[in-house]
């Protein structure tokens, strides 16, 4: 394992952990597709932030693009509640439009924006070791991506720790939460804001599609492995890291997209859980049913 390998896998693992943690909340709130929508919809935000600030400075990107994530959430709510459009169509119309705008912007400003269409879909994590932070004195701090994704993970961990009670309640019993005076709306937007920030931070390394796979896959796998929410969070992160490592080596072996490979591995791990999970796996349910019928 070379330094390059470690750097790339670390970046992927950091992204995977952030996504897995948030994903647990998303799938339990039945907001998986809203997460998918946000990960697509932040594209125009990234492009505009880039055009406006003229650089790939992550802070401006995070800010500007993060706002688009909030806008997406707002638009979906607006179409559903005010225009009375059904939920699935609200999500579909909003994110496809925003993503289309993003792609057009990239095409129009291809010269000025250091992004290309294919790259936004699946990123180019292989370049992570090349984009280093070099201080004016000449000291090399390491890949920028690791710092950015690491920072985001720290923020997410802080968010989940500080807001655990509220997030937990609004996920499992919104009515009770409201009765206690917790604003379900506020925490919904905060959660979606966190998803936006994570998506934006991960864009460069893994692209839009992998973010979705990492948001949903590990969390879904963990959901099949345990009934305890805190355990689920830890397991999801673990599955995410595992998928990143295995996926990287598969991509290396096949000489293909690392992001694609990691997404594929999340699917494989999920499939394994579907069949072989101790409590909820199909194989064990079947054998237990046979044993019980005797």
């Amino acid at each position: 394992m070379t330094l390059n390998d470690i750097q790339i896998i670390t970046t992927a693992a950091l992204v995977a952990t952030s996504c897995a943690l948030l994903g647990c909340f998303l799938i339990l709130r039945k907001m998986a597709m809203v997460g998918d929508a946000i990960s697509h919809a932040v594209l125009p935000g990234i492009v505009i932030a880039f055009l406006v600030s003229g650089s790939r400075d992550s802070v401006t990107m995070l800010g500007g693009a993060g706002l688009i994530g909030i806008l997406t959430t707002f638009l979906i709510e607006f179409f559903h509640k005010k225009a009375r459009l059904q939920t699935d169509a609200s999500i579909g119309v909003t994110f496809t439009w925003l993503f289309a705008v993003g792609v057009v912007l990239i095409s129009l400003f291809a010269g000025k924006v250091d992004l290309d269409q294919d790259c936004v879909l699946y990123g180019e994590i292989a370049y992570v070791p090349l984009d280093l932070i070099i201080l004016p004195e000449g000291m090399i701090l390491g890949p920028k991506a690791i710092y950015v994704t690491g920072a985001i993970l720290a923020v997410i961990l802080l968010f989940i720790t500080l807001g655990y009670k509220e997030l937990f309640l609004t996920t499992f019993d919104p009515a009770f939460a409201t009765a206690l005076g917790i604003s379900t709306s506020l925490w919904h937007y905060l959660l979606m804001g966190a998803v936006s920030a994570t998506t934006v931070a991960s864009f460069e390394s893994v692209g839009a599609i992998l973010v979705v796979a990492l948001l949903i896959g590990p969390a879904a796998t963990a959901y099949l492995l345990t009934d305890n929410f805190k355990v689920m969070l830890v397991l999801a992160a673990g599955v995410g890291v595992m998928a990143s490592t295995i996926g990287y080596y598969i991509a290396y072996w096949l000489d293909g997209s690392i992001a694609g490979a990691i997404a594929m591995v999340t699917g494989i791990l999920f499939a394994l859980a579907v069949f072989f999970a101790p409590a909820h796996g199909l194989v064990f349910r079947k054998t237990r049913a046979i044993a019980e019928s005797r």
């Binding site: 799938i27 039945k30 907001m31 998986a32 597709m33 997460g35 998918d36 697509h40 179409f79 005010k82 225009a83 009375r84 459009l85 059904q86 699935d88 169509a89 999500i91 579909g92 119309v93 496809t96 439009w97 993503f99 289309a100 705008v101 792609v103 057009v104 095409s107 269409q117 294919d118 879909l121 699946y122 599609i209 992998l210 979705v212 796979a213 948001l215 949903i216 896959g217 879904a220 959901y223 099949l224 991509a251 096949l254 000489d255 293909g256 997209s257 992001a259 694609g260 490979a261 990691i262 997404a263 594929m264 999340t266 699917g267 999920f270 579907v274 909820h280 199909l282």
Partner: protein, 429 residues
């Protein structure tokens, strides 16, 4: 020659092909998408669209060429597979549908991207243009490709036409369809196959990522203009066709631009306009209607207040000060003034020396509202046995809504009573 004229005169056969192709693809997707919309399963289209990518790559890998038949077949297989996977996950595990769709979507697409990148690096010259499937390229729709895709589109349209009643019934009342003996499973399977087919050919124009848009958005837009299925599907088809044509035009004018996003922008614009400005269901129309109702209610409440003041001293047309009106019904002073001036404009009140008085029209209108209020209170207490102190608020709402026909009905049922539960006189004109 001006590109707009050059394009729309359709003199160049290439332009004709591309235009026809794009229109066929988007229109057939829009029609099929209408049924997924009615079934409230719009995002399934998104899942299928992402899932066909590995199939396309597989078709390429197995045949070594970009022969559309292979690509379509491969796409069809994985498209169908993705739906089977979603069904399986939802029915056999505790994973919910949205999670299943998102998972299948991203995993299949990831596999597709992996395969695509491996193919791209393999150096096989035939693979160039395979990535057009990601964002679409209507300009690539020429010659034989068009024939194949065009045929599929026509098959789609014909099947929808033949099975229209069955698809509609299944969307609205599956149990009834089962009860009358329709082969529900087979019809569902057919519809699903049509959706997968539509996706497979549609991605030529808009690409994988945005395919969901031309399934969902035309139907969503059309929904706002009508309550009738046939009209809705017709409109969806037209909207889809318009966006497809625009996409083809843009592909002509700017060959380097991907067509998909432009098609989506056009159809989304149509959709937003529909959401806001469609009569009756649009946001703006709804807002105006609600505002009109609110104003009518306020108008009638103030007229009622003036009438009540008149009942006290038996002079309905006497001039009153705003304070007197406020004693009967409390509201913001500014608001009261706005309502009074509005009533004046409509001829229900007159203003003289800072005092307001009912006109004859005003008195008649107020009297009717009061009458309905008291009749309703009587109805609630005598026919529904509700306590007299519980009926006022209900009557306060209903008094603005009852039609003359219902009013007559009410009078008859109660046998033209003289007094309401609170011993107030019921005024007849």
């Amino acid at each position: 020659m001006n590109p707009l004229i050059q394009f729309f005169s359709f003199q160049d056969p290439n332009i004709r092909f591309v235009a026809i192709g794009a229109v066929l693809l988007t229109a057939s997707s829009a029609i099929v998408g209408s049924f997924t919309f009615l079934n409230k399963k719009s995002l399934i289209g998104d899942a299928i669209a992402h899932a066909v990518l590995p199939g396309i790559c597989l078709g390429f890998l197995l045949s070594g060429t970009k022969n559309p038949v292979f690509l379509i077949s491969g796409a069809f297989v994985t498209g169908w597979l993705s739906l089977v996977a979603v069904e399986f996950i939802v029915s056999r595990t505790r994973i919910k549908e949205d999670t299943a769709i998102g998972l299948v979507l991203s995993v299949f697409f990831g596999i597709g991207i992996l395969m695509l990148t491996v193919i791209q690096k393999s150096g096989n010259a035939a693979q160039s243009g395979l990535d057009n499937f990601l964002f679409g390229k209507a300009a690539a729709l020429v010659g034989e490709d068009l024939m194949v895709f065009g045929t599929v589109a026509v098959i789609l349209l014909v099947t929808v036409y033949l099975l229209f009643k069955e698809f509609t019934l299944l969307a609205f009342d599956k149990d009834y369809a089962r009860a009358i003996g329709l082969p529900v499973r087979w019809i569902s399977v057919t519809l699903t196959s049509l959706i997968v087919l539509a996706v497979v050919i549609g991605i030529q124009a808009v690409g994988v990522v945005l395919m969901a848009a031309i399934l969902i958005t035309p139907a969503a837009a059309a929904r706002f203009w009508t309550d009738r299925i046939r009209v809705m599907i017709m409109l969806a088809c037209i909207f889809g066709a318009v966006s497809g044509l625009s996409g083809a035009y843009i592909s002509f004018v700017a060959p380097a631009m991907p067509t998909g996003p432009w098609i989506v922008i056009v159809i989304s614009t149509i959709a937003f306009v529909s959401f806001f400005f469609a009569p009756r269901r649009g946001v703006v129309s709804r807002f105006i209607r609600q505002r009109t109702i609110r104003r009518t209610i306020h108008n009638e409440n103030i007229l009622k207040a003036l009438y009540h003041l008149g009942e006290n001293d038996k002079n309905f047309l006497a001039p009153r000060t705003p304070d007197e009106i406020l004693s009967k019904r409390s509201l913001d002073r500014d608001h009261l003034n706005r309502v009074l001036y509005r009533l004046k404009r409509q001829g229900y009140v007159e203003l003289s020396k800072s005092r307001w008085q009912l006109t004859d029209n005003g008195k008649t209108r107020a009297q009717r509202v009061v009458k309905i209020h008291r009749l309703w209170e009587l109805y609630l207490t005598t026919q529904l046995n509700i306590a007299p102190d519980h009926v006022h608020d209900d009557a306060d709402t209903i008094e603005h809504l009852l039609t003359p026909e219902l009013e007559a009905e009410l009078e008859k049922v109660l046998d033209y009573p003289r007094e309401d539960p609170h011993r107030a006189e019921i005024p007849y004109p």
